[in-house]
């Protein structure tokens, strides 16, 4: 949606710019152009630190991507390292790790989509049905809070709840006479563990956008539905849900565009040797192979593959969301 925002901005600006390219041909206008820049020099000065920052910290690393096509060695340097073409990509696609990484990334993403995505919608509808505003605000305040906690804290809380020797859940399992269950080192439930963490951390926060859409609904619609004899469920079905349908569709599409993004810190913190087969995703792999083993070129290639697929998906998703957004205005 931010893309659309900028696109609109550009459309608005587009006229100005085309005028100025025409102006360029006339020398008088060109002088005017430079005069205006000189007149507003302090404005450009104001933007300078930001421009320099974005250049160095966002665009120079993009140049660093070239090492994915080289055999980079820190001792030889960026420019001197020999070009090797697609060697590192070939290694990635023919190696056995690639399918594992792709499977884990997609599994984590789709579990999120299946179990996490619908929850903020349901939660926001329930919140909207609360009649006591003070109670509503209190519940909102409480469920938004985890969003602001770091993943290290979430991991700590998870260990405290599910740890084998000192976890609370296992305390109860054992007090009922059963064997302690190992939640944290069990490959079968690892993906679900991640989904559970995401739900706890973000489900409440996710309601904000839906509540905003629901707040825009004309209350007369509910009155009318009531007079027509609709009970609460039918009111939700026929008034609330249609009102947020577009937001749901757009968020779903955008989420699909983001399937390559699985919370890196989250997976990294929950990673352990016992679950490595199901826990290794592109980012954690890049960290392990690149930073810890020093295979800079290969890991850059892995990262580049992930970023590139991510970029294509996001752009496609935005196109689709835009289509829906335009049709959705009724």
């Amino acid at each position: 949606m931010i893309v659309q925002m900028i696109d609109n901005e550009i459309k608005q600006d587009g006229t100005d710019v085309s005028v100025y390219t025409k102006q360029k041909r006339k020398p008088g206008k060109l002088i005017k152009f430079f005069k205006e820049i000189k007149r507003d020099r302090y404005l450009y000065l104001l933007a300078l630190p930001g421009i320099i920052y974005f250049f160095i910290f966002k665009y120079v690393p993009m140049y660093g991507i070239t090492i994915a096509f080289k055999d980079f060695s820190p001792f030889v340097g960026f420019t001197e390292s020999p070009w090797v073409g697609l060697k590192h990509f070939t290694r990635l696609f023919t190696g056995s790790d690639f399918l594992m990484l792709l499977r884990n990334t997609l599994a984590i993403s789709f579990l999120n989509l299946l179990f996490f995505f619908p929850l903020p919608i349901i939660l926001s509808i329930l919140l909207n049905e609360l009649r006591n505003q003070f109670y509503k605000r209190t519940v909102q305040s409480l469920v938004y809070l985890p969003h602001f906690l770091s993943w290290v804290i979430i991991a700590s809380l998870t260990f405290m709840l599910l740890g084998k020797s000192s976890g609370i859940i296992n305390h109860f399992i054992q007090s009922m006479g059963f064997e302690a269950f190992d939640f944290l080192t069990n490959p079968d439930i690892f993906w679900f563990l991640l989904t559970g963490q995401s739900v706890w951390k973000e489900a409440g926060w996710g309601t904000i956008i839906f509540l905003a859409a629901i707040a825009g609904v004309n209350t007369e619609l509910y009155e009318a539905a009531k007079i027509d004899g609709a009970n609460r469920f039918r009111q939700i079905w026929h008034v609330t849900l249609p009102a947020i349908r577009n937001v749901i569709i757009i968020l779903l599409i955008l989420r699909l565009g983001d399937v390559m993004e699985v919370g890196f810190e989250q997976v990294f913190l929950m990673y352990n040797g016992a679950v490595s087969e199901v826990a290794e995703v592109f980012d954690t792999y890049v960290y392990r192979v690149g930073i810890q083993q020093g295979q800079f070129s290969y890991s850059t290639a892995v990262g580049l593959f992930k970023s590139f697929v991510g970029l294509v998906l996001v752009v496609m998703a935005n196109r689709m969301a835009k289509k829906f957004g335009e049709e959705g205005i009724y």
């Binding site: 949606m1 659309q4 900028i6 609109n8 550009i10 600006d13 100025y20 205006e36 302090y42 404005l43 104001l46 630190p49 930001g50 421009i51 974005f54 160095i56 966002k58 665009y59 120079v60 690393p61 993009m62 140049y63 660093g64 991507i65 090492i67 919140l127 049905e129 609360l130 006591n132 209190t138 519940v139 305040s141 409480l142 469920v143 809070l145 985890p146 602001f148 906690l149 290290v152 804290i153 700590s156 405290m160 609370i168 305390h171 409440g204 904000i208 956008i209 009970n231 609460r232 810190e265 913190l269 960290y287 690149g290 930073i291 800079f296 890991s299 990262g303 970029l311 996001v314 957004g325």
Partner: protein
């Protein structure tokens, strides 16, 4: 209006369900608080404590006597304060300049800024850049890599867009240049929004984990999140370094909980202010099309 029986049942069920959800959300946080204040002897005996009989500050005393821990809090505070100030200056000046229509080439710059949101070169090129700049093991590495990003610039620009040029023009005629006008007129006007952004930056810096892990090898420079993670995976307590030998170490569990609480408390302290602003901020970012 009279409520039907169905409505009443629905209302009551809804109140209970949402109450339970809020309880489930809050329980882990409540539990860390309680355990961190439980007397070590009582915790060792029960291992599950909902409400301690003997409250104790033993875990906190031990933690706060560990120089490593104090240092980590210092580092995190430094990141949060200095980082936030730097982030605000660079992001708001950039966003303001880009919001002015007379800024030539802002379309191109905005597109370039947007592209940084869509495409991330990845961990390794960023790491190599920081290394080339000689910033490994410097706290500035953590500040610099997260100083600003496309989202913040575009969000803040969206806010500045609503400030009309005429407001600044009057001052410019009086001989103020654009920088002075920004400092004297725009900033005071946008103080509430700046404060809101500042809170978000501060939370972001306080929660820094991975960048610190990546760029800071020297354990004495670790922020609290990295130290906390180390305490978590090692139960021997050695991650805290040297502690006054006269203080008897509490069980590692209550110690960890106390550390978690210390990491949560600043967030909870700013939370009411955050909450006042975030709905607005999120809306600017996501609804505006």
């Amino acid at each position: 209006m009279k409520l039907s029986l169905g409505d009443k049942v629905f209302n009551i069920t809804n109140v209970i369900v949402l109450g339970l959800i809020a309880l489930v959300t809050m329980f882990p946080i409540y539990y860390v608080f309680v355990v961190s204040f439980t007397a070590p002897a009582e915790y060792l005996q029960k291992t599950f404590v909902l409400w301690p009989e003997n409250w104790s500050l033993a875990s906190y005393k031990y933690l706060l006597s560990a120089p490593t821990f104090i240092q980590a809090i210092g580092v995190s505070t430094f990141l949060a304060v200095v980082g936030t100030i730097c982030s605000l200056i660079i992001t708001s000046s950039f966003a303001y300049a880009l919001s002015r229509r007379k800024f030539k080439g802002r379309r191109v710059i905005l597109l370039l800024v947007l592209f940084t949101i869509l495409f991330n070169p990845g961990i390794i090129p960023n790491y190599l850049l920081v290394k080339e700049l000689g910033l490994i093991n410097s706290l500035w590495s953590v500040i610099l890599v997260s100083l600003s990003n496309g989202w913040f610039v575009i969000l803040m620009k969206g806010f500045y867009d609503s400030i009309p040029d005429t407001l600044v023009e009057a001052a410019t005629i009086d001989g103020c240049n654009d920088i002075m006008a920004w400092i004297k007129i725009i900033l005071p006007l946008s103080l509430p929004s700046i404060a809101a952004f500042g809170l978000f930056f501060a939370v972001q810096y306080w929660n820094q984990y991975f960048n610190a892990l990546l760029y800071l090898n020297d354990a004495s420079k670790w922020p609290i999140q990295v130290l906390l993670q180390n305490m978590l995976i090692d139960s021997s307590g050695s991650s805290l370094g040297e502690v006054d030998p006269l203080i008897k170490p509490p069980p590692s569990e209550t110690l960890k909980m106390a550390a978690v609480v210390i990491a949560i408390v600043p967030i909870i302290m700013v939370y009411p202010f955050l909450q006042k602003h975030f709905a607005k901020g999120v809306m600017i970012g996501s609804i505006k099309e």
